[in-house]
Amino acid sequence: MSFLEVLYIVVPVALAYATPLIIAALGGIFSERSGVVNIALEGIMIIGAATGIITTLTLTDLGAGVFSPWISLLVAMVVGALFSLFLAVPAILWRADQTVLGVAINMLAIGLAIFVVRVLYNKGQTDFIEYRIAKENVPFLSDIPVIKMFFINVQYTSFVAIALAFVVWFVIFKTPFGLRLRSVGEHPMAADTMGINVTKMRFMGVMLSGAFGGLAGAVYAVTVTTNFSGTTIVGQGFLAIAAMIFGKWNPLGALGAGLFFGFAQALSIIGSNLPVINNVPQLLLLIAPYALTILALAGLVGRADAPKSVGIPYIKGKR
């Protein structure tokens, strides 16, 4: 197997795994740039995944056919945004500790999702969906040597994720909304004196993060697992948070970090079929993404890059 052929196999898998990470990391950026720590991303992804599968199953029954997974993505965004209110309301209005709150929401999410599945289907996990967002070869582009590695066996959701990274970058750094969002995450009191509604901006940040997290969970469910159970989302949300930090809270950085983590995950999954890499113990490949994350966070990224007021509730009139 030539090196290029290895890439033809690895890159599509890497893209598939990177997609939800990128989307969720973008969500994390909205929340943290506004000053709210979002550990709850994991839980929001669980809710998104459950919503994605349940909606797809329901729509398929109603006859929506191949459109059902795509519609379910939109539904998951709305549900994710609403679910993120569990974080937004206590964290912003009641000044709860955001980290503890996030952990609690993650526990709530898995319990709630399984409960709903049991109520609806009378069993612990859903059936597999009939119409998934399938892997396709992009016409024309998949025929060009070398660059075809990005266009064979690929889901269109991957392109959506990459496009979203650029859109979010544009919103955060080029629009008034982005400037205001960043200002409340850096120095909320300064923003307040400039007439910016800190509470409103933080709500928008968290709810956007919820929408993206919901989308990410649903994408993972309808592209990779195709059903929902208690083990559908196990750690992807945390990996997305790592990708966000690794990318220094910059959407394009998160894109790069997401791709990198996706690549690491792909290696651990299909590495045993590849030359050279199949000599590496599988255990090492499995822990690689996490070990790399720890190394990256310990060595490469300083705390200094985080929004200055992230995690600190804003109290009007405090000196």
Partner: protein, 502 residues
Amino acid sequence: MLNIRKEFGTFVANDNITLQLRKGEIHALLGENGAGKSTLMNVLFGLYQPEGGEIRVHGKKVDIENPNIANELGIGMVHQHFMLVEKFTVTENIILGLEPKSGVTIDRDTARKKVMEISEQYGLKIDPDAKIEDISVGMQQRVEILKTLYRGADILIFDEPTAVLTPQEIQELIQIMKRLIAEGKSIILITHKLKEIMQVADRCTVIRRGRYIGTVEVDETVNEDSLAEMMVGREVNFAAEYSKADPQQVVLDVQGLVVKDSRGLKVVEGLDLQIRAGEVLGIAGIDGNGQTELIESISGLKKPESGKVLLNGKDVTGHTPRKMTEAGIGHIPQDRHKHGLVLDYSIRDNMVLQTYYKEPFSKRGLMNYKAVAEKAKALIEKFDVRTPSIDVAARALSGGNQQKAIIAREVDRSPDLLIAAQPTRGLDVGAIEFIHEQLIKEREKGRAVLLISFELDEILHVSDRIAVLYEGKIVGIRDPKETTEQELGFLMAGGQRGDETE
């Protein structure tokens, strides 16, 4: 503003205060630290809601519920602690909340042009593309002023604008304020510096402990003494004559000290210094000539590269701060927020930061908070720290009271050597007088006092000997009675040793 009243819990910060600003005047608001000046202005700016009284702008009664309304009424505030986002550029900070747009994006070219236009109109020199974290404090303040002008403010509130500025920057600011008045703006200047009021203000309103004292025209009939008396409520002795020093044995002996700063440059280079018991040694020098590093190496915060620090004849070079403290050093740090207090701790806990592990404050590894509280109460009383209670976080106190709390803690241990680094920075005359008295008292008890200050007045006033620090070395020692500001200034600027100033 008529009969304003503002309460925090049971504490009345403003009680029936009236302030009337005329168009085109600079109106000074004078009061001691904690008198309620900032509170009053925050009411005007909409950050606090008053419990009583009313505000009228151009004769019309208004309700200022938030800063937006204040902005619309043309009221702008230049905050004492700048309200700037450090990672943003100057332009971004100015336009924040009111961004010019083209389509959905921020129109940066228009923004930049507009900012530059205002900056030129009022003579406020700035670099529109620099990040706030990279520019000087003086320029940050100009950005704050531009923020208000960009929003079309006609009434500008300056909250203790000179507290953080160098003397040159203060002169520049005074020029800026005069220019603003010439352009038809009105200014409320919050300050406790009498000199500045005499220099720029047209009228002056005085408040004391939250109450309105009076408003006076600043003209020939008013002088610094009479203003000070109104502010403090008693006569203030600016030129208190202190008794003569009676220096005894050497307490601190610094020999050939070399210290590097955080960038690894040698900033103290072979410094020799002796301080005796029963004297105040003042160190004069321009900021950045090694003062910080000298203090840090004597107080144990930084290890010197080479050289020796002897305290009462014992070598304490490079010891930890706790060992230094136990050896008999007290330290009133220049940055009271960073090194003086734990801002989120209560005043009570702050009082035992160096002694908490000793009896009676802790016994067998358990804290005795009753003893701590008693100590704190006693200190607060003795040093007149004005705080609603000992359980209040240090952060909530005014600068002057925070400083008094630190001095209470340090002086109470009566250390053999007391280091006082800029002990009166940003304080009002009453507090300054009090702190100087405390330093002299320590001296009279036979302690050694090392005073570091950038204010020559202060050095000349309190010291028994003056050592001039220039580029990490002591370049001259003078007797305050025989030297002049000119001579010291000459030495501080690197003039040769000797008598060339004659």
